[in-house]
Amino acid sequence: MALFEVHGLTKTFGGLAANRDITMRVEQGEILGLIGPNGAGKTTFFNCVTGFYPPSAGSVRFQDQEITGWPPERVCQAGIARTFQIVRVLGDLTVLENVMIGAFLRHPRVPDARRKALAVLELTGLADRQDQMARNLTIAGKKRLELARALATEPTLLFLDEAMAGLNPSEIHAAVAIVRRLQEQGITIVMVEHVMKVVMPLADRIVVLDSGQVIADDVPERIAANERVIEAYLGEKYRAAS
Amino acid sequence: MSVETTLLVQTLVSGLLIGFVFALISVGLTLIFGVMDIVNFAHGEHLMLAMYFTYWLYTLWGVDPLYAVPVVAGLLFLLGVLTYRLVIRHVLDAPMLAQIFVTFGLMVFLRNLAQLLWSEDFRRIGDTLVTGRLELFGIFIGTPQLVASVGAALTTGALYWFLKNTRTGWALEATAENKEVAGLMGIDPERMFALAWGLALASVGVAGALLATFNPIFPEVGAVFVLVAYVAVALGGFGSVTGAFVAGIIIGVVQVMGGFLWEPRFKTILVYGIYLGIVFIRPQGLFGRR
């Protein structure tokens, strides 16, 4: 039994099917890459499984429990955390306070939450900036902060939505190191990515979406050679390499 | 027709007539919201100003309200653009709280300014071109009410035509649909926002001038009408001109029928109850897209 399973997930908006009959699983401890051309439905999928959209059909199971249609707060309480494609830090609070908000889920008392938050800041290399206002961080810093905040909720499964977008090479390098460290700590990770150079070496397995459907589900080496994937990405492949 | 039926039809007709005026007022409110996601909490006060302008034009210079309509509409149009440029523009990117407070503050300011300048006294306009009443099939219709209703319907129709059939109208709708994309297509959002405010207040100007022919004028007169407008905008669907129009008429009929069938003093509760009912049960209203 896999840690996280999706069966026949479908999401339609009006007449448009953004996600169609998606079936896939995530195994405990792996890093799963979720890729696909623009508009393939990756973020919709994230929103469906983390409770922001109710699926039109299908089921989502986590740790052998039906979580389909659960509201976002319940999903997080169960152990699934996420980041957002457009970063959403709480600008009016400091870096530390942002992470504390995440920590409060498992540590209701302020001193405990602060301790947990500081630990997470250490882990993600943000400790030296703990008193900065979140809105003053760079994009890389904000993405890092959002990740730290999600980590503070002590998730078993972490969904990262384009965590590498907009980062320069050295920032990507640092972020990848953090993701590896998280896997070492036993956190299972699903990452939506466009930056192929990052996801191919990092992921244990890759699922490819195109037009709302799964077109491939395999290890990275075979994905790169997969006819359907190349077709879906025709042209994109060259852009993604940059 | 029996007496009861006559009374019923009479009430229905008067509700319909005032409904058209409600509709015009609501259309302005929904236009602003549709284009820039801001609720004009001072909408009732703008209506009140229109009514006072009409009153002063009549009292000081003997201008008949019917002739005053375009003048007041023009004045309110300018006021709308001015309000946008001086006030609203500064809070477009501010948090929603600031946006709420700004038009709310405007409401408090205008309402009490009117009270300060013109006192609480109820004012009425005397004889005008439209004074009198008509009788149709045993139903009595006040001529001012009829003219107001027709005027409101025509104005709403003209506004609708403008939005659907002119380039500027399309630009306005495009901006309402998606500000960024409209900007990319060469539409200047600033101009569109100012235009939206100008048109919205001009509509209220027409409604106010027409209302002034039969409705008493006092500093708080806007409060009652704006309440209906809030509800109509919600019922019709935030941002939908058609929706606000239809909803305005519906509420006009419902509140007057409610007063007739139930209790006149509970009319307000009925209308408010409708608002609460809509936002809880069907938040997108009849024609809404949000």
Partner: protein, 343 residues
């Protein structure tokens, strides 16, 4: 060293001043104004919990003030129940009503929620205007009880006890606010205010926390309502349910600074004396002048300094500190924040 302690010293001085105020200034109008300042501080702080910290702007809080006033008065007039118990009863009623109104309303976005609160407020006003057993439009008079005993919650010889009671209420309300600020609830409310969806993704049950804030806010407003009823010995829909009252509650907090502890108190300290002065000395036509100024103030604050007077104060303090630092250390040190992309 004494200069560093200036804010604390000022606070102590203020507290002492407040404690001896009735002895220093027994003049009725002044004392009454001060009582109102303290009462409105309580109301502003109460509004602040849901409107400032949670970010749900309500223009209907007079509902809870009125419910508090009416509940305790009806209990007293009909069954002789002590106003102190009535105060608790009023708070209970307010908690229940606020939960019923709030729970379905919270999913409404800002504007629609605000309109819904106006709607609810008006419904209550009309309702009480038509309830015969609650006095209708005429209202209810409270029986005058001689003796100035604390247990009667009525003081006719000297208003000083009223002053101390409302001062106590203010201290209690401030403590509640302080407690909220310093615990998880305060952090959660800040997150909810800024980004409810992000908050939900972190496991925060947004509706539940808004509900907590709402009922606390309502209970405090209701208790203030009971105090008011005992103070003026008269309740009517016009005096305890009007939209103007809801507006003033919001205004006091907005002017002083929403989401802060001192904000509503400062707001009340500035607004209420102005209101009382214009009401009494410029009565009649110019009696509404303070409201015109209010309106203008809200507009200006919203545009230029949404954080209110508190924010202005903090900016001024910040600039003073910057200037001092610049003077003390002429050698430029690197400003905080590395914008060079290093992580």
């Amino acid at each position: 060293m004494l200069r560093n302690r200036l804010p604390q010293l000022a606070l102590v001085a203020l507290v002492l001043f407040l404690l001896v105020f009735p002895t220093l200034f027994p003049e009725p109008f002044l004392l009454r104004t001060m009582i109102l300042v303290l009462l409105w501080s309580v109301l502003g702080l109460a509004w602040n919990i849901i409107g400032g910290y949670a970010g749900q702007v309500s223009f209907g809080h007079a509902i809870f003030f009125g419910l508090g006033a009416y509940t305790s008065t009806l209990l007293l007039n009909n069954w002789g129940i002590s106003p102190w118990l009535g105060m608790l009863g009023g708070a209970l009623v307010a908690v229940i009503v606020s939960a019923i109104i709030g729970w379905p309303s919270f999913r409404l976005a800002g504007h629609y929620f605000a309109i819904a609160t106006i709607a609810a407020g008006e419904i209550f006003a009309v309702l009480f205007r038509n309830l015969k057993w609650a006095g209708g439009a005429v209202g209810l008079y409270l029986p005058i009880v001689r003796g100035d005993r604390l247990v009667d919650f009525q003081f006719n010889e000297s208003k000083a006890m009223y002053y101390y009671i409302v001062l106590g209420m203010l201290v209690a309300t401030a403590l509640v606010t302080y407690w909220i600020e310093r615990t998880r609830m305060g952090y959660y409310l800040k997150a909810i205010r800024e980004d409810p969806d992000a908050a939900r993704s972190l496991g925060i049950n947004v509706t539940r926390y808004k509900l907590y804030a709402m009922v606390i806010s309502a209970a405090l407003a209701a208790m203030a309502g009971t105090f008011y009823a005992q103070f003026v010995l008269y309740v009517s829909p016009k005096t305890v349910f009007p939209l103007a009252l809801s507006i003033q509650m919001a205004l006091v907090a907005i002017l002083g600074g929403t989401g802060t502890l001192a904000g509503p108190i400062i707001g009340a300290a500035v607004l209420i004396p102005m209101a009382e002065y214009t009401r009494v000395y410029l009565a009649g036509r110019v009696g509404g002048l303070h409201l015109v100024v209010y309106g203008l103030l809200i507009v200006l604050i919203s545009i230029y300094q949404p954080g209110g007077l508190m924010a202005l104060l903090r900016n001024w303090q910040h600039r003073r500190r910057q200037r001092k630092l610049a003077q003390a250390a002429p050698v430029t040190a690197p400003a905080g924040g590395m914008g060079d992309g290093s992580v």
